[in-house]
Symmetry: C2
Subunit: 178 residues, 2 copies
């Protein structure tokens, strides 16, 4: 697995991310990014607690794969799907079924920085609407995206070990030992 692109969602009020060459990962995630923090407030995805509950942040980074973005673009009949439109921080390549990596899988980058997989990223219409705007696609695509991107929307995770990550990094996958 290899890092193809990096991004940060640090523009206020903006869902799409901005391309960068490197990211500094700290225990809070990516400083300045909208998902930065040691804690987070529960949203609709955290169905086991009331909305707004303060939880330890397990959704610091959004990660997607080039292969799944390609599949998804074809399923939606789009010429391409840009990782930034999904608000992603890391876009990797050279991996099959990236979204299927189980919770607790460790992704180790060249510097030694480690991101732990929390879960797959449940699709939402926010990303769908961002694609509609960016690709100048029909409004109906926002909902089609939710259906089409299930199991290929990528992963969310949190920083286990601090460090820099860079475009071009190799990523080693360490699966939870049985």
């Amino acid at each position: 697995m290899r890092v193809e692109h990096l991004g940060t969602a640090d523009t206020p009020g903006e869902f799409v991310s901005r391309a960068v060459e490197l990211l500094e990962l700290s225990f809070g995630g990516i400083a300045g990014d909208r998902h930065f923090g040691l804690t987070m407030e529960a949203g609709v995805r955290q169905k086991h607690v009331p909305r707004g509950t303060v939880l330890r942040n397990t959704r610091q980074l959004s990660l997607v794969s080039l292969e799944e973005l390609g599949d998804l673009a074809r399923a939606l009949a789009l010429p391409r799907l840009d990782y930034r439109w999904l608000g992603a921080n890391v876009c990797v390549s050279d991996v099959d079924d990236f979204t299927a990596l189980p919770a607790s899988t460790r992704l180790v980058f060249d510097s030694g920085a480690i991101v732990v997989v929390d879960s797959d990223n449940r699709p939402c219409t926010k990303a769908g609407r961002a694609i509609v705007a960016a690709a100048q696609a029909p409004e109906s695509l926002a909902q089609d995206f939710v259906t089409a991107s299930r199991h290929r929307r990528g992963l969310v995770g949190w920083v286990e070990r601090e460090g820099l990550i860079r475009v071009g990094d190799r990523v080693t996958v360490v699966r939870r030992q049985a």
Copy 2:
């Protein structure tokens, strides 16, 4: 699932935990306990990094079940096995195959406090030696414990939501959605 016993390992130099009626869980774990901290240093169990590497702490609490402790006592021909000898913080009852609960499972206590399962607790001779001392068993039991307790040594986890937990609490298991 129900909380039968709670304990804290807050005696310097002591592996065995001390029974308490309630524990206050914060994002660092249990204040005063030897595993307290937002971060931890990697040990022999974290094979994906050099020993001493600073990692986000995923081993704040040790949890065991009364049922598995009973099985384990029988396997080791001991009249009983006390959760404190294993340095455990939480001993639950009324659950099958507690150690088999997968990573990312949420344990929700009455107050709303939540512990997330990081992994099963890989047996070590430290607990084995503590049992030898406490149960006045032969030295060889320390090694027998490592073998016998595989898959019934309980779990380690970290605090996702802060709150009090008490002996007698009901525990709701929220499995990671597929």
